[in-house]
């Protein structure tokens, strides 16, 4: 093992960890030679296109492809019946359930279409024009049904049902009548019903948020090539090519080993590329036509048919003592899952209370289907919505009691060792430290001008561990190759190389870091849950440690001593003491050069199911200026604090935090899916789906708090999601501070805010 030098502050001294080297994939990305999902081509590649439903809800009576098949250049057409059906079964943990019966129907409709944009058929043809002509020639008979596109519509007593036999799960006894409510989750502690009497102040408010899209710049794209022997290649831009392989195999009836999934670069995912849309269709079209098939979505298709985040309705009730001690909290939230069950409602309700010590709590979450695209994960799935509602209510409590918002959070902070609802335990410090760091930030003391306001919010995201694999090879010239199965979204190639260099004791520039296909690295779960630097990092370090053991053994062989008498430090084998003998150190380069005579190639794999991940807490401090006449909100200052554990590559940690805040600001102020009464999406492009642009934003100041995670070799927690959790609430709290009116519905768009300000003036 490396010997670590403790710094005066008690932290180990690192050579590579905590530095900011140039990313290994930087030149390719800057020069445009990096290959994304749509950049792969093979001889004879066909163009695949999808026929999508114009109706938000209809029974599919028939899909007649016979005329389309007659068009010259059309090589294959698939419909739902070309795919094996899947068993109806919910699998996986409660927070992340999946039902393949639903997944196959989302990829391509069978009995019904459930949203505008739902895939009905797919064609492969020699070119774009022929494929488009084929789509036109497919005759679909629909029996149009009434539709429900909002939570209120879906929950109405006489609402049309997406699934006529859906009985709400999680309710005892089970309801007799089917509804659009897929599932209920309920968590309780203490005596909530009697606790309210001990509160000096009770605040109860309702909130709503709209569905928003992840907004990745690269639309979904893939290339599938099914060979005559039943083997296939799948080029895919995703957050997990092992996941794409597994879903494609299941949905097309193939074996895992028969698909080689090759990861493309990925132009953003944010959770939305953990799910499958195109790959099974492209694979089946390739199988039927015998040619490679490339598919890509248009931006309009991305909006209409790929996963937004759930819209929500919330009711929050808080009880506090005069001194600010929280005594009771009740949270009830409805999450709109879209066309199929499976919104992140469980994590949603669990996360919002996690930063607090509250003796009496009741959490109820409802998963509701509606005629919209099925939601997908989006950066801390479920948590930003509940945080907005909960932290807005906390802000009201603070204002009513005249308490400083950070002092209030510190007073009520969750304690290390606490059992969190939902079965998690808080094992490490970090939350209090980030609250204190935010409190010390100069922004907190900056004086506000007219029409300006300041908002604070704190939040929680559990992060994830899970399965990861890595391989490490030492080359004859003393350079090192590492490969993982984690698509690199946030700079993970660099952080993997840094951890490799640190562990082996060599310099960063001797390590080449790659993301490899499913045949050349062990199984690796998706890049999601802020897990890669933690879990895949652990696999990389495990592989490096096996290599170090091997290098020590080779040095022992050369010196003819016992392996225990060989230490590894600073990139070289050393005798563990002068008693062992007077040997010059053997560097990694020396041993690499002598690999042939000492046992052959040097390399190892690490494959593990990483446990011991630590949660990501965050805090946000937002200053706004409101134009009281137009309701326009300008963000003038923003500070975000997060406990990173240890920042392997601080620039990428800061980038994650800043990017998360930007997305949260968009969610808070301007982004929303707008449906017409016809159930069709009206703003399916970036012009009218209003994501913030650079000039809308101030420089976002990240505070990286580092309280190491003892369960990771370098102390990593996870940083990619928690920063998003608090952004919306901090903006809403700042607006409330500026205009003295509480906006309970996102986005805080100018029409809504101008109206609210006018109503406030009228009431005075």
């Amino acid at each position: 093992m490396n010997e670590r030098v403790k710094t005066p502050e008690g932290r180990p001294y690192y050579k590579e960890i905590g530095t900011r080297p140039i990313r290994p994939d930087g030149v390719e990305k800057v020069t445009g030679s990096a290959r994304f999902g749509d950049d792969f081509t093979l001889p004879g590649t066909l163009v695949g296109k999808i026929l999508r439903s114009p109706h938000p809800h209809a029974r599919l009576i028939s899909v007649d492809t016979s005329n389309a098949k007659k068009i010259a250049g059309v090589k294959a057409i698939v419909t739902g019946s070309d795919f094996p059906d899947q068993p109806f079964a919910y699998t996986g943990p409660a927070v992340l359930e999946r039902n393949m019966w639903h997944v196959t129907r989302n990829v391509i409709a069978r009995e019904k279409v459930l949203y505008e944009g739902h895939a009905v058929a797919a064609v492969a043809a020699v070119d774009e024009k022929t494929a488009s002509a084929a789509l036109q020639a497919i005759a679909v008979e629909y029996e149009i049904l009434p539709h429900v596109t909002t939570l209120d519509e879906a929950l109405a007593p006489d609402a049309v049902l997406l699934f006529e036999d859906m009985i709400t799960r999680g309710v005892e006894p089970a309801p007799e009548k089917p509804t659009n409510i897929a599932r209920r989750a309920n968590y309780e502690k203490g005596q909530i019903d009697t606790a309210w009497s001990s509160a000096d102040l009770i605040v109860e408010r309702s909130y709503e948020t709209k569905p928003v899209h992840q907004g990745y710049i690269e639309p979904h794209a893939c290339l599938a090539h099914y060979h005559p022997d039943g083997q296939a290649d799948l080029y895919t831009s995703s957050q997990g090519h092992f996941q794409m392989r597994a879903l494609t195999a299941t949905l097309t009836g193939m074996r895992l080993t028969d698909i080689r999934a090759i990861p493309a670069e990925i132009g953003g995912g944010f959770g939305g590329k953990t799910v499958v849309y195109l790959e099974p269709l492209a694979m089946m079209l390739s199988k039927m036509s015998g040619f490679p098939v490339r598919m890509k979505m248009t931006r309009s298709e991305v909006f209409k048919a790929s996963g937004p985040a759930a819209g929500t309705k919330a009711r929050i009730k808080l009880g506090a003592k005069k001194n600010g001690t929280l005594v009771a909290a009740e949270v009830e939230m409805y999450y709109e899952a879209g066309a199929f069950p499976g919104s992140p409602f469980v994590n949603g309700v669990l996360c919002c209370v996690a930063p607090y010590t509250i003796p009496n709590v009741r959490l109820t979450g409802w998963d509701v289907v509606a005629n919209r695209p099925k939601v997908a994960a989006y950066r801390a799935p479920g948590s930003p919505q509940s945080n907005f509602a909960f932290e807005s209510t906390v802000d009201i409590v603070c204002k009513k009691l005249g308490l400083d918002p950070i002092a209030f959070r510190k007073m009520n902070a969750v304690q290390v060792g606490a059992e969190l609802l939902g079965g998690r335990q808080l094992n490490h410090e970090g939350y209090l430290q980030l609250l204190e760091a935010t409190e010390r930030h100069p922004q907190y003391a900056t004086e506000l001008g007219p029409n300006q306001g300041r908002g604070f919010a704190a939040g929680y995201w559990p992060n994830a561990g899970g399965e990861s694999g890595a391989t490490v090879y030492v080359n004859a010239d003393g350079t090192v190759n590492i490969a993982t199965g984690s698509p690199d979204i946030g700079g993970s190639r660099a952080s993997m190389a840094q951890m490799t260099a640190e562990t082996l004791g060599i310099s960063y520039d001797r390590v080449r870091s790659a993301v490899n296909d499913t045949t050349s690295v062990p199984f690796t779960h998706v890049t999601g849950g802020s897990r890669v630097t933690f879990a895949t990092g652990k696999a990389v370090v495990a592989a490096c440690e096996t290599v170090i053991a091997d290098l020590r053994a080779r040095a022992a062989k050369i010196w003819d001593v016992d392996v225990d008498a060989v230490d590894w430090r600073e990139g070289a084998a050393h005798p563990s003491s002068s008693n062992v003998g007077d040997f010059d150190p053997l560097t990694l380069g020396d041993l690499a050069a002598r690999a042939t005579e000492t046992g052959g190639p040097i390399g190892s794999s690490g494959a593990l199911n990483a446990t011991g991940h630590a949660p990501g807490f965050s805090a946000a401090l937002c200053d706004v200026e409101v134009d009281p006449e137009t309701g326009h909100v300008k963000i003038i200052r923003f500070t975000v604090a997060q406990d990173a554990g240890v920042a392997i590559h601080p620039s990428y940690v800061e980038g994650q935090m800043q990017g998360a805040v930007v997305q949260g600001i968009g969610w808070a102020l301007s982004e929303e899916y707008i449906y017409g009464p016809d159930g069709r999406l009206q703003n399916h492009g970036f012009l009218d789906y209003r994501m913030p642009v650079a000039s809308d934003l101030p420089m976002i100041d990240p505070i990286v708090v580092e309280v190491p995670n003892p369960d990771h070799p370098f102390g990593v927690k996870g940083v990619a999601e928690a920063g998003m959790v608090t952004a919306m609430a901090s903006v809403a709290n700042a607006v409330a501070d500026a205009v003295d009116r509480r906006m309970t519905s996102l986005p805080i768009s100018p029409p809504k805010l101008a109206k609210e300000i006018a109503a406030g003036k009228a009431a005075m």
């Binding site: 006449e629 326009h632 102020l669 209003r690 768009s749 101008a754």
Partner: protein, 290 residues
């Protein structure tokens, strides 16, 4: 689809006559987007950027300006004299799209695209612009606000096209301004736009006024009622409130994905006041009145 890039106005007219489904393209920042998204599929695109007369900004003998139909926003924005005379119009044009779009997008194209929300349009209408239209019967001048007929449709005859926008000579003690409201800071479409032109008499009263409103009706509204409320006044609060009321009364907006009708009517008043203030400041700065 056929693409032509004629080098004279006459040959452009011939091409338009030869194909009923032909479409004129200047910068193409609307047309190409519409074609890509499947909204339009003309059989013939006639690109007018190679016609030399359409590519310049010239000052006319009377001190006005003639801006060729193929002149993009970026060029106007760098034209010091034009910007000095009509800063409101130039700023209105400059608000369209991004820097890249500015390299191509033209105010004439903005007018002929006939979107209710085009930013250059209220800017040029408030400036008192006319446009010169070429057709088989020769040339005619039309008030800019008479060009759009409905969203996506103009009053031009089938074989006509606009070759220039004409701005009058700038009167003494005058100034123009254009403001729009968007939820973001750029790369967005006006929810409301207001163009204001004011000229002051020597005694400080408003001698001449023009007000144009965008995105609050199917076409740009040339609001003489609002202007009349200001003419003769010294911009007393009552006069401004009367102009605001007249402008709000002239609105005929819709609720859509970009904003509610209620918000548009409200915001027209807010922006009119702010535009009046800027135009006034510009008029007074020229003569050192403040």
């Amino acid at each position: 689809m056929q693409y032509s890039a004629p080098e004279t106005i006459e040959s452009a007219l011939k091409l338009l006559e030869s194909d009923d489904d032909a479409r004129v393209m200047a910068g193409g920042t609307d047309l190409i987007v519409q074609m890509t998204s499947g909204m339009r599929s003309p059989s013939h695109v006639v690109d007018i950027k190679r016609i030399p007369e359409l590519c310049g900004v010239v000052q006319t003998a009377d001190g006005g300006w003639k801006i060729g139909a193929a002149v993009p926003g970026a060029e106007l924005n760098e034209h010091v004299e034009l910007k000095r005379d009509w800063p409101g119009f130039v700023e209105a044009t400059d608000l369209i799209g991004s820097m890249q779009v500015q390299g191509r997008a033209t105010p004439v194209g903005n007018l002929c695209n006939a979107s209710p929300a085009g930013d250059a349009v209220p800017g040029m209408v408030a400036a008192g612009a006319t446009v010169t239209v070429a057709g088989s019967n020769g040339f005619r001048d039309v008030a800019a606000h008479d060009v759009p007929a409905a969203p996506g449709r103009t009053n031009l005859e089938k074989n006509e096209f606009v070759i220039a926008v004409n701005l009058p000579p700038k009167p003494p003690n005058s100034g123009d301004a254009y403001l729009r409201f968007i939820p973001r800071t750029e790369m967005d479409i006006a929810v409301v736009g207001t163009g204001v032109f004011l000229a002051f008499g020597e005694s400080g009263h408003v001698r001449e006024a023009r007000i144009a409103l965008g995105a609050i009706a199917p076409t740009v509204v040339f609001c003489t009622e609002a202007a009349d409320a200001l003419i003769g006044s010294r911009l007393e609060e009552e006069a401004i409130e009367a102009a605001v009321l007249a402008a709000r009364n002239a609105c005929n907006p819709i609720d859509d994905k970009r904003g509610t009708a209620e918000f548009r009517v409200h915001t027209v008043g807010v922006l009119i006041k702010r535009s009046i203030a800027i135009a006034t400041q510009r008029a007074k700065r020229q003569v050192g009145m403040d």
